[in-house]
């Protein structure tokens, strides 16, 4: 995400309209304040890392650290390659080719996004383990007796974890790649065609380099989710850095040591982000506006090629959504009496309202930060924004502790002050409220909201700002009247992604929630944590179903960005 456009704009406006400089500093101050608030939990984790109970590293380095690092790297590499291949190619195919089922698949490819990773891991273990229907069928067909008579890949393995995470995370890459491909100027591709480039060459030499920033954002999201995943790797007995973190914290009673591992993970993320930016340092992303939305011809495919392409795009949907949904429906029916709960409407409403509030707050914060950055290129602000988006890569339970610390410090300080001076106890004002959950979701998912919004914001030419300003609009007015209408689909996309992520959020909700407060995800957990898959199915299914609506809305939003002009 290059910010090269911003200093030019600021320099120009600063010259032409010096009176706006003060206002822009107002935005800067505001941006830094908000970003700092969001950073607090991350800084709290870093602070914990400075105070370990004992030094864990000699022990870890001489025992399990190599395994943790190896597993983590292979997991990231596997998930990275898998999500890229599925996400980019399926997006390219549904955008530029015509084949049976294309229309349906273009939005169905987003469906696995509604399935939480921990749910799909349970479903496939149930299907593919020894006693599951797949192996049972094979034994019946081939007459094998025990597990030693044949080879069957173990689902509870590093490979299994990679497969599960790829199936639910590739939609991030697909979402952004598809939006990027749809936005690409038809004329560039036509020029490439005129110069004799084949379809494949056009993908690799023209479309991919242009779409790269967007794809990188999608990939970064998928990898950050991979890094903070604990449910899947724990269930599959894959010891990653995240698993090690929980062990140091809980098994060895060393929260500070755990926070050190979390910091190591963050360093990892920073390196990745830095590497991506560095490799793109010489690129600019100018898109000529005039013919941008001219529709391109889709290539009509027939016969074997069409079938293969349909299959390629259908498989992720079948594996990532259809099969899990069937299994969940089946279990929901069988275990309905055990899992049904008269509090269900409240629980569903808790999930929905919480995710909606989180989406609203995260998008608002993301918008304001992005706009502040646009107004003034300031190093402090840039760093604050970067750090505030790291919440996505911190394992949820650790982030929860990081959130708890500033909140309870504030609550207790206020209480002490009020007791001392007014003889009133304010108790815990913020801790243990729904508000702390909204804040937690915001911190966790700000990266998602900010990433989407910032890239939409950057597509708006700074000339627009100048023109609006010369017509006498204030900076708030420009945001409201010029930017917001232009960014509508980008903002909606960000809000929907945060909403679906919120529906799936588990670890921070568990630790920070008020008394007697359940979400669909915590209901799944109370059974799933004891490996009672059948009993947990109904609520898993509900998470998926509630997530469907926004996911469908999401694909409509993306399609509209082009189809309006088709």
């Amino acid at each position: 995400m290059s910010s090269s456009a911003v200093p030019v704009a600021s320099a120009r406006t600063a010259l032409s309209q010096p009176s706006h400089t003060n206002k822009r500093y107002g935005w800067l101050l505001f941006g830094i304040t908000v970003a700092t608030l969001v950073c607090l939990p991350i800084l709290a984790v870093a602070w914990l890392a400075l105070n370990p109970a004992t030094n864990i590293w000699p022990h870890l380095a001489s025992t399990v650290l190599p395994t943790y690092l190896f597993n983590t790297l292979v997991l990231m590499l596997g998930v990275g390659i898998g999500t890229l291949v599925i996400g980019v190619f399926s997006a390219w195919f549904v955008t530029h080719y015509q084949f049976p089922g294309r229309q349906l698949l273009s939005w169905a490819l987003l469906l696995p996004f509604a399935v939480p990773a921990y749910v799909i891991a349970h479903v496939y273990t149930d299907l593919l383990e020894f006693a599951g229907p797949v192996q049972s069928l094979l034994r019946d067909v081939f007459g094998w007796q025990g597990s030693k008579d044949y080879y069957f890949p173990k689902i509870r393995s590093l490979g299994g974890a990679i497969s599960m995470l790829v199936l639910v995370l590739y939609p991030y890459v697909y979402l952004l790649a598809r939006a990027a491909f749809l936005e690409q100027s038809a004329s560039i591709l036509e020029a490439a065609q005129a110069l004799g480039l084949s379809r494949t060459q056009r993908l690799f030499r023209i479309a991919l380099p242009i779409a790269r920033p967007a794809i990188a954002v999608g990939l970064a999201m998928a990898l950050m989710e991979t890094l903070n995943d604990f449910g899947t790797v724990d269930y599959f007995a894959v010891r990653t850095l995240t698993a090690g973190l929980y062990d140091v914290w809980l098994g060895m009673g060393n929260l500070g040591g755990g926070a050190q591992i979390a910091s190591l993970i963050l360093l990892f993320v920073l390196c990745l982000v830095g590497l991506e930016k560095f490799s793109r340092r010489a690129q600019t992303n100018a898109q000529s506006g005039s013919s941008r939305f001219r529709s391109f011809e889709r290539v009509q495919l027939r016969g074997r090629k069409a079938f293969l392409m349909s299959l390629f795009c259908a498989l992720p949907v079948i594996l990532g959504f259809v099969i899990p949904a069937i299994v969940l429906v089946r279990y929901s029916i069988i275990y309905f009496d055990v899992s049904w709960n008269s509090d269900f409407p409240t629980i569903a409403w808790n999930s929905i309202s919480l995710s909606m509030m989180a989406a609203f707050v995260a998008v608002s914060v993301g918008l304001l930060l992005s706009y502040s950055k646009r107004m003034l290129n300031n190093n402090l602000l840039n760093v604050a924004v970067l750090v505030s988006s790291l919440g996505y890569a911190i394992p949820g339970a650790v982030l929860a502790i990081g959130i708890m610390i500033p909140f309870s410090t504030f609550d207790n300080a206020l209480d002490a002050f009020m007791r001392k001076h007014f003889d009133i106890s304010t108790g815990l004002l913020l801790s243990g409220s729904v508000g702390i959950l909204v804040f937690a979701y915001t911190v966790r998912f700000l990266a998602v909201a900010f990433g989407g919004i910032d890239s939409s914001m950057k597509k708006i030419s700074p000339h627009m700002d100048d023109a609006a300003r010369s017509l006498g609009h204030s900076s708030m007015g420009i945001l409201g009247r010029v930017h917001l209408p232009l960014m509508r689909s980008g903002i909606l996309t960000a809000a929907l992604v945060v909403f679906v992520d919120g529906m799936k959020e588990l670890p921070a909700t568990l630790i920070l929630r008020p008394f007697n407060f359940d979400t669909l995800a915590t209901q799944v957990y109370q059974f799933a944590s004891d490996e009672l898959i059948g009993e947990s199915a109904l609520f898993s299914l509900l998470i998926v179903l509630v997530g469907l609506l926004p996911v469908i809305l999401l694909s409509k939003t993306i399609d509209r960005s082009r189809d309006v002009y088709d």
Binding site: D411, N412, G427, L429
Partner: protein, 346 residues
């Protein structure tokens, strides 16, 4: 001084936002007839007892359930914490809370009468409510009776490639390994754990129930599990088949006895509803709640007057390891590191 229309809008927005925030951030009011519990146990396991308590006393029980982070939450909330009680499934979590100074001493004749002294803290900082034995189960088909009678036997070379357990880092395994350290010293315990590791049939994975399932599927022959899982499986239609594929061994009956762990409860240092909390503790140790526990969860009641469930009684009487859990707990970190050192979890 009049506001411009734009400023008016802003003020209205702020007013609306603060109203919303006010409703969001209203902290849980401490009503007279409530008791607040932070629980490491799943709600569906304890709700029947809490519901019964509310029915008998009119005191409402509020809960937050999580499997990690609640002790940290309690510590951060400090003296303003709304929690009255902390409920755990392992002595380790209880002692974490006690060591961090987050609990208070409770003196109750009723509690002391119902709970034998080995299952509660001498100073009244924690009380065990139920007991679970860490038992060995062996395949009815592939393991002859008498081959395994002790935890130490699990390191026998003839068991190579035949044992399944959950992760060595799990609290139940951790407590067992810590008890081996307590009894044998670090060097011998490590040699034993290495032996068990060499006998593993697969990378430790799944919960205790999954190990029995693996035996019924022929993947392994021997497993270490908590006793109540057997009860749960025997009374489940589908899983009773798995349970039927194994024999129960209560280890070390000729020497120190079988390793036990507790699910227990502590009153928090800052408890705002002390009286209600004490009532709930006494209720949970009473004959009524203890028999509900026994029948529903197939755990061993700590209250000697209450029999275990019929199913559990059918497994027979056995001798407990009487080494105080407070001794076992001291070796937790050593045990956890040992798991890394021998590469138990793969």
């Amino acid at each position: 001084m009049g506001f411009t229309p734009k400023l008016n809008t802003v003020i209205r927005c702020i007013a609306a936002a603060s109203l919303l925030a006010g409703s969001l951030f209203s902290s849980a009011a401490v009503a007279a007839d409530e008791v607040n519990v932070y629980s490491y146990r799943q709600p569906f396991l304890i709700k029947p007892m809490f519901d019964r308590f509310t029915k008998e006393t009119g005191i409402k029980v509020n809960t937050v359930f999580a499997k990690k982070g609640l002790v940290e939450r309690l510590a951060n909330e400090g003296r303003n914490s709304p929690a009255d009680l902390i409920f755990t499934v392992d002595v380790g979590n209880l002692s974490n809370a006690v060591d961090a100074g987050l609990t208070q001493s409770v003196q109750s004749d009723a509690l002391n009468a119902s709970i034998p002294s080995e299952f509660r803290d001498a100073d009244g900082h924690w009380f065990g409510l139920t007991n679970r034995a860490r038992i060995i189960v062996t395949s009815t088909e592939r393991v002859e009776e008498g081959l395994i009678t002790t935890y130490e036997d699990l390191a026998k070379p003839e068991l190579a490639g035949r044992i399944c357990t959950r992760s060595g880092k799990h609290v139940y395994m951790n407590a067992l390994i810590a008890s081996m350290v307590a009894h044998h010293g670090e060097a011998d315990a490590k040699a034993w754990l290495t032996g068990v590791k060499d006998n593993l049939a697969r990378t430790p994975q799944g919960n205790d129930r999954a190990q029995v399932k693996a035996i019924s599927e022929g993947e392994c022959d021997v497993a270490i599990i908590n006793s109540y899982y057997m009860g749960a499986m025997q009374s489940d239609e589908e899983q009773s088949e798995w349970a039927a594929s194994v024999n129960i061994v209560f280890p070390n009956q000729d020497d120190r006895g079988t390793h036990m762990n507790i699910a227990g409860i502590s009153m928090t240092a800052a408890a705002p509803n002390k009286d209600n909390a004490k009532k709930l503790m006494e209720f949970l140790a009473s004959d009524l709640a203890q028999s509900m526990y026994a029948e529903q969860n197939h755990e061993y009641p700590v209250n000697k007057d209450v029999p275990a469930s019929g199913l559990v009684r059918s497994w027979g009487e056995f001798q407990h390891d009487t080494l105080p859990l407070s001794e076992v707990v001291k070796h937790r970190v050593t045990a956890s590191k040992m798991v890394d050192e021998v590469g138990y979890d793969g």
